[in-house]
Symmetry: C2
Subunit: 342 residues, 2 copies
Amino acid sequence: MAETNRLVCLARRPEGRIAADDLVLTELPLAPLAEGEALVRNTWLSIDPSVRIRLAATTPKGYLPPLRPGDPLAGLALGEVVASRRPDFAVGELVSHTQGFRDYALLGADAAAIGGYGSPAVVRTGGLPAQWFLGPLGSAGLTAYAGLFGVLELRPADTVWISAAAGAVGSLAAQLAKLRGATVIGSAGGAAKTAFLRDELGITAVDYRAGSLTGSLTAAAPDGIDAYFDNVGGDHLAAALDVLNPGGRIALCGAVSAYDGAPAPAPADLFPIVAKQLRLQGFRAGSFLDLDEPMRAEIGDHLAAGRLVHRETVFEGLHRAPAALVAMLSGATVGKTLCHLP
Amino acid sequence: MAETNRLVCLARRPEGRIAADDLVLTELPLAPLAEGEALVRNTWLSIDPSVRIRLAATTPKGYLPPLRPGDPLAGLALGEVVASRRPDFAVGELVSHTQGFRDYALLGADAAAIGGYGSPAVVRTGGLPAQWFLGPLGSAGLTAYAGLFGVLELRPADTVWISAAAGAVGSLAAQLAKLRGATVIGSAGGAAKTAFLRDELGITAVDYRAGSLTGSLTAAAPDGIDAYFDNVGGDHLAAALDVLNPGGRIALCGAVSAYDGAPAPAPADLFPIVAKQLRLQGFRAGSFLDLDEPMRAEIGDHLAAGRLVHRETVFEGLHRAPAALVAMLSGATVGKTLCHLP
């Protein structure tokens, strides 16, 4: 059994956009396993935008506290139980948990959950690739599914706009909405991503870097937009208030524009919410655990039938986890961003 | 029968806060009644914040277009049918409609409704004061009722904050919420209004002019606030995002802070909506017409039993309608603001 653990820690708070050397790989001795603990060798780390939130000096009320320099990062991860003194985890089992960004996770009874989601649990892959349980069959899948069906209550007649549609959650949401019969517009930054949306996902694509979002959306949806799945915030949310049809709904999943660097300004005018009787709902997947089973059934069927395009951007080795986070936050990755530990 | 009509018209667009001489009383000949029309002598004019919206150079998408200088103002009103060539309105009947701010309304088949609410309809007072059908038994009542029960889905265990709580809608909402068992915090500007909230309505009062709203609300509601009935927008909405408990709900009824003069800045940070999974819903009473009957039953019972404090600020004579609008928008009136025509 390993005697040391390597952990990705916060070296210093990022100023503006995060840089890889704001993080540092630290080596610490592994304590002997106490009663009630299991040791898990991580194999897949989920590289999620929300990891950035706790690197700032303050976090929003209701969120986990900021990390201090020296603290290890946390994040969803998968690993194999290599030693166990708790009855619910047997050696050799695959476990999902929130102690990512390190070689080994030490799961005690009090292992922290992020946002109510991610309590340590055994994963049975049924022969599917393990990392799918961090992506389409895991938190990304549940986030997309809960946003579309739990929050937006998407109907086949709807036109829905999904931002960051080339990302892990957005690309799933776009395809699930299309498979349910909705008209889907996806936005992303740059020609490569919009080509992915158009050619691989088969949806109407808008490049938010090319001209006015409001103008592009109006052209893409001449009859207006009924629902908006927001992964970005800032100017994207402002454009949604502008273009949404009366009675429109917005699911606020995250605001990646606000996480890294100077936050994008919030919409200056919220009166369209009143004038058009819009509904905005912030949500986290962890509040929709009742949808986990129907989500796995529906997405699992689509994956088995080859109806879902699932793209991954994989970084190899724990030492690459900082680069993975930087790349994902800067918009340089497509689909689900992962770090694979050998 | 009268041969001329006096109408309150827009003289020039207000610069900043509205002044009484931005409006002008114009006299026009009354055209002879055509088939399908009814002539109504107005007796009560409802002086509502939303009247201000159409005096600006632009109105929000989804709203009625701006008035041009020279155009007559519109607004909810009550009057008596004095001549009729339409079968649904008989001479002598009391009618509610949206052609306020004038002595006579000419109701054709196409008489405009404001926001879907206010289609001309006969009012049977059952011996109650007619003007109550513009207030607690009319649009103010339905707005308060729909916001609390249709949008916020208020529960007795909730702590609810109501802004502009000394106003027509706010004072009703505050009392209805309290009568249903909720804990109610009302905010208003200045000592006289907060005394009215505390001493006459019996709710916890916060003076938004006295120090930080967030601080005052936190002190008034140590266990946090579950629901917010927003009549103000701007800094009030920002404070709500700050103090609301996770899962909190916000009903956006109007944004009086944005109507008159320079709009109050919108909240700079909307991320609490995601972090605390808040729900915001803009609404207008006209979308909750199915609640009109239960509203009249519940509020009617409370009024009959003397359980509701109903305050009115009444201006006498059409020439006083501009002053009434200016006073109401500047926060100088309490309860329902009305203009009574002799």
